[in-house]
Structures are given as structure tokens and as C-alpha cells.
Symmetry: C3
Subunit: 269 residues, 3 copies
């Protein structure tokens, strides 16, 4: 199984699917191609909300504002999963959720060579030479994901195209500033319902669940479920991600609270 | 085969896919995740336009404004199909299209237990305890759909997690008010071309096909095909759903007729 | 394998998937359903950017502003691929990329008949009678694609539902007007990053790579990669399609250059 995640929208993911299907009969499963464009931080958050629910798989991730520069392509083995993507930190937060220890490999240049696949022997340039300067998802990462899948998550490093490395870019979810009865948060993500998801862990507001809280100075009920307030009314809740979320029952929380991705929000109680 | 329908947009469906792929090797087929958010009525309409074209399958449907309340999770067996979703009526219109008689089961609480799957034995909380309060698609409905699939559409009630029930929420498509030469309709759905689909059966306007009709007082040609009027001109037609539709050839009917989802429209002829 | 391409958005492709899954167990792979609505020219361009990356497959393509008129349904065999779609030229540009020589077949009317499929024998109207006037994707093209797949890309013409023809609509990508140190281009497509892709071949600007160019009179750097200019700054580059592209590093080129699909753009250097 190979999952696909990107900020590509449509139709670029189709080229990645085709490239992989040339090399493998693996099941392809789309995670999302609607990650916020070139936003490594929010994409990393969404990966933590989706990939841990999968059985062992190769996970192709392409959110790559540095495409065409000399940033590396990497593969990370975490427990029974392998993640393939650019070395810009996007893989690291979910890697830490998948496994306490992990190994990082760099995709390195090789001669064109014969590759044995489910579909017979093919001549595979590796990485493609010349790759485009603007679409490494198609030209580097998708071939690498297919190759990891065919070689096996346990043993792809037997392929000389992957070399162990200790150097990689890291990325951590920004910590909120939490005081006794106040927290200053960042909006990590806004989902398609308009729920604004912050970086405050849900247990921070456990004691005020059922009562009220101030959000940017405005009183708001704190409830377990959206439907605990009337339709159209705003609330603070703890979402399925276990983070504090600004929401509106049957409406958009981002509009009601006037917040956008990456905005700062102050909660006091 | 398991089909997936929701109002989730992206990337929440990916978590549902992962949860199911932990338990089953079934083919997963997306129907849509772009149903109008938390709109049970229009989602029910779109299900009638899509699910009847499928071979026997488990159909997972999550449009769930009451998530986190005590509304039940149900499974409906209709002919060779099984539909899994919230007990808010969204399943019922398509169920009636799939079968004259149908059976309803409630998803009930059980102890954690061992579940035999294609991928070996797993400990499955059922339903998950604690499930989130905001994402039963991932925590209740997707596991239930996988479990129905593995148990078999014919025999899933052998699993004590599903109990027959006679109580469920119903939903019917609203009837239009049809008089001798006039009809007052509701816009049931607007598709991505901008076609505004009403609840008036197509045969109501059969006699005026080829001539003109008044829509909210404005004269409009009634034609079999979009291309029967010049590009950019509006028309009334009977769509693939056999309902009266307000359209524009190579344009958006909703804009041209100034109508939106759930609006009332008067036709006279 | 059957790929699906359309301008349908959601949920109409789900009906096409269901119809095909009634007849075949083929892998279904979405290319895109977000082609610009009823835009044959841009859809044809995107097909050239995606289908050539696939292994041999049946490619279902439905961008069909003439639905319900007497335009034919055709199947084109190009090398080991078969393309199924309306006879409006949308298939031809990618067909020429897939093969130097190709054969065109018309989908012709037949009696209802028994069809042997992976799922047993089914009575198949062919083409459906009556088909809807507005959704031939579901009623004509999807059944035809499934039937080509089951009959085999090499031999589907043994089925009397497909007749060779020499008459079909053609379509070519418009040529840019290129002079010594100037070019007048058309914007062929705008991708989801906002990159405006022109019809100028990349090698036309090879000599000015690394220096500047005038776009509609305004000086702009020409670079190999987006990241070669500061974040938020515009540039001219050669995209993965080998065409000249108007872009912004980590931003939208269409906004920065104030251009839209089908606009004319003048480059001088």
C-alpha cells in the first residue's frame, strides 16, 4: 500500500499515480492533495491526524516549497512504515507519532539500471536525469516511493539508491504559551467545516469544560460536542485531534471568531 | 467493496480509509466528500443519484450534524446492499430506491474483543471507548462499515454488535406543489456546473417540452438538451435525475436564475 | 486499469464508477474531475500532462459541452492505450503524444444483448436506450470504457458495438506567434498553485535563462526554479510541461501577472 499526500490540488497527483503504477501493483490510497499550498507546518499537522490510522504502508508526501533547490529527498523508516518526501521537516512530526526510534535515508544518484518489478524488467533512471526543476513529485518522490514499496519497507536500504544519514531537517509543532488561567495559541489548521484548530492540548481546558472561557476577550461556552450549543452559536471544544478548537455549531468557527491559519489567539478563564 | 460518502472535504476521509484498511482488504470507492456541509436533505438526494448504480456493496455515509449527541449509529440492509451511517434520515431515500423492503440495525456497545480479519486477529474496541465527541466517522462509522463488510452483507447480524430495531429517523424528499399549469418547487441541489435541480418530476413539464415556460415570471425555453439553446442562454430541462432543472448552456444556471440551494421557485405554463 | 478524467467535479463521477464496477473488476484511477468546466482545449492540455505517465490502460475522458447533440462517442487506440470520449477533439492532442499512428472507432447502436463479465452474464443495453440527454458520461461513455476493458485494448473491435471510422474532430494546441526576440502567447492552463502555463515552448527562452525578460512590458527574471527568486517575487520559468510558465515563488503567478485562462501575453527580450 502506498498513500499519497500533497498540496498539489488537481491534476498533478495523476502524474504521480501513473509513474508509480508503471513500477508497482500496490494499492494507492489518497490521503489528501488539498494541504494548504506550500505550508509545511500545517501539512505536517494533517499528517499526524491521518497516517497513524493506517496499517503498515509507504507514505508519499510532497509539500515542497524548495523544489529545484539542493534540498535532499529522504525516506524515513518508522516502525513498519516508510515515509518518502522532501527534507524540509514535513515528515518529522508524524514520524515521532509512529515510532519512538526511526531511521533516515537519503535518496542518492545512481546510474540508469534495470529494475525488476511486478510488471517485468524496466530501465529506471534513478533519480531521473534530468528531472524537471519544478515537479519532483513526479520525477523523484513518486519513483522513490514505488521503489521503496517494491524493495520492501524492511529492506529497501539494500538498494544502493538509499543511503543512511544522520542529517535531516526537523520540524516541531509550535508550543502554546500556557499560564495559570490563560493561554496564547496559534491556529495550526482550519478544516473544511471552518473549525479553527489550535496548538493548545485539550486537557488544558478540562477544568472549564461545561462553563465559559474568554477567546480574544469574548465570552464563549466550552462544550464536549458541537450540538451542545444552539445552531449557529460559537463554542470552544476539544476536537478529535485532542487539541482546543474554535467552532460554530452547524457553521464556520473561523468566520465566527474572525481567525485564520497561523493567527494568534488568546484564551483566558 | 465499500463506498464512502461524506461532507468532510479533505483530509478527514483519509482517517476513515486508514481505519477501514486496518480491518479489511475491501476495495474502497469514493462517492463524494463534497456533499454540502451538514445538509442531510441534499446529501440524501445525491445518494439517490449515485448508490443505485453500484453493484452490491457496503455504503458508508457520514453527514452528521448531531455528532456527539445520543443519536444512534445504524446499518440498513436493502437488497444486496448495506448502508452504514447516523440515524438522522440521510440513508432512507436511497434505501427506498434500492429495495421495497429493508431491515434496520442499531450499532450497540460491546466489550473489547478479538476480531478475525484478513490481516489477522486484532483487539477491537466496539464502538471505540472513548470515541471522540466530534469525529464518529473515524471512531464509530468506519469501524462499523469494515465490520459489516468482513461479516458479510447477508449475515452481519450474527455479530452481537448489530441489533435489529424498528425505530429510526425517516426523511423524505419534499413534494412540490403542483397545480394544473403551475408548480412551486424547491431547489434540492446545485451541481458543480451550476445546474439547479428542483424536486419537480420531469414528466410534469413533458407537454411544454420544446416551447416556453415562466420561471419566477420570466420566459424560458424548455428543451431536451443544453445545446438546444445558444451558448450562455438559460433553459429549463429534465436532467439525468429525471427532475426539472434550471440550467444555462455552457454556463451556470444558479447564477442565471438567481437561485440557491433550498430556494423556492415558481414555474407557470 | 481504467483512468477517469472529467470536468464533473463531485458527485457525478461516482455514478460513472458504479456503472463500470457493474461490468468490470478493473482498477479505477482518477486523473482529475476538476478540468475547467466544458473547456475542451485546456482539458486536452491536461491530458497530455498526465496520461503519458501511465502504463497501458483504458482512459475514460468526459468533457462534453455537446452532450445530447448528435456528436459521436469514439474510442481511439493509440499504441497499448485506448481512449474513450466524445468526438470533440479532446482526445487528439494526447493521442498524438502516445503514438505516431492511431485508430479511431465509433460507438454504434446495437440491440440489447447478453454480456459476459467478471461478475457473470448481464443484459446490457448498448448504448443505453433511452440514455439521458444530459449525462452521457454515465449512460454512454462509462459503459463503453468498461466494455473496451473487458474486450481487451488489442481486440475490442471484435465487438460489433465499435466500428472503425476515418472521420473525427481534431484539435491542436494553438501555436504562439514567435519572432526574433518576442513572442505572443496564450495562457493554456492555470494550475492550483496559480502558475499560468503558456503555449510557448521552453527552448524559446533558453538564451535568456538567468537574465530578465519583459512580460506585457514589465521586467521579470527568468529562472530555472521558483526558489531562485525571493518568496513572493514573480518569475518566468520552464515548467515540468516544458512550456514557459508565469509564476510567483510561494505565491500565485496568475494574480501577480494579472492573467487568466485563455488570455494573451506578450514576452519580449
Amino acid at each position: 500500500m502506498i498513500t499519497l499526500s500533497s498540496d498539489f490540488g488537481s491534476p498533478y497527483p495523476a502524474a504521480m499515480r501513473g509513474v508509480m503504477l508503471q513500477e508497482t501493483d500496490a494499492r494507492l490510497v489518497d490521503v489528501s492533495h488539498e494541504f494548504p499550498r506550500q505550508n509545511v507546518q500545517t501539512s505536517a499537522f494533517w499528517l499526524t491526524q491521518t497516517l497513524p490510522y493506517y496499517p503498515p504502508a509507504v507514505h508519499l508526501v510532497v509539500v515542497d516549497p524548495g523544489v529545484g533547490t539542493d534540498r535532499d529527498a529522504i525516506v524515513v523508516r518508522a516502525d513498519e512504515h516508510a515515509l518518502v518526501g522532501p527534507d524540509n521537516g514535513v515528515l518529522l512530526p508524524v514520524v515521532r507519532e509512529l515510532a519512538q526510534e526511526f531511521e533516515v535515508f537519503e535518496v542518492v544518484e545512481q546510474e540508469v539500471e534495470d529494475l525488476e518489478t511486478d510488471n517485468g524488467t524496466r530501465q529506471v533512471p534513478w533519480p531521473p536525469d534530468p528531472a524537471s526543476s519544478t515537479f519532483h513529485g513526479r520525477d523523484v518522490f513518486a519513483p522513490a516511493a514505488a521503489r521503496v514499496h517494491e524493495a520492501g519497507i524492511d529492506s529497501f536500504e539494500d538498494d544502493p539508491g538509499f543511503e543512511p544519514t544522520d542529517e535531516y531537517e526537523d520540524l516541531t509543532v509550535p508550543d502554546p504559551a500556557i499560564e495559570d488561567k490563560a493561554a496564547t495559541a496559534t491556529v495550526l489548521a482550519v478544516d473544511d467545516f471552518g473549525n479553527a484548530i489550535t496548538n493548545i492540548p485539550g486537557d488544558v481546558i478540562e477544568d472549564v469544560m461545561g462553563s465559559d472561557i474568554e477567546v480574544n476577550g469574548s465570552t464563549t461556552p466550552v462544550r464536549h460536542t458541537y450540538a451542545a450549543v444552539p445552531s449557529g452559536q460559537r463554542l470552544v471544544t476539544v476536537g478529535s485531534h485532542d487539541n482546543v478548537e474554535l467552532a460554530t455549531n452547524q457553521g464556520r468557527g473561523d468566520d465566527a471568531f474572525d481567525v485564520s491559519l497561523r493567527d494568534s489567539v488568546t484564551l483566558t478563564w
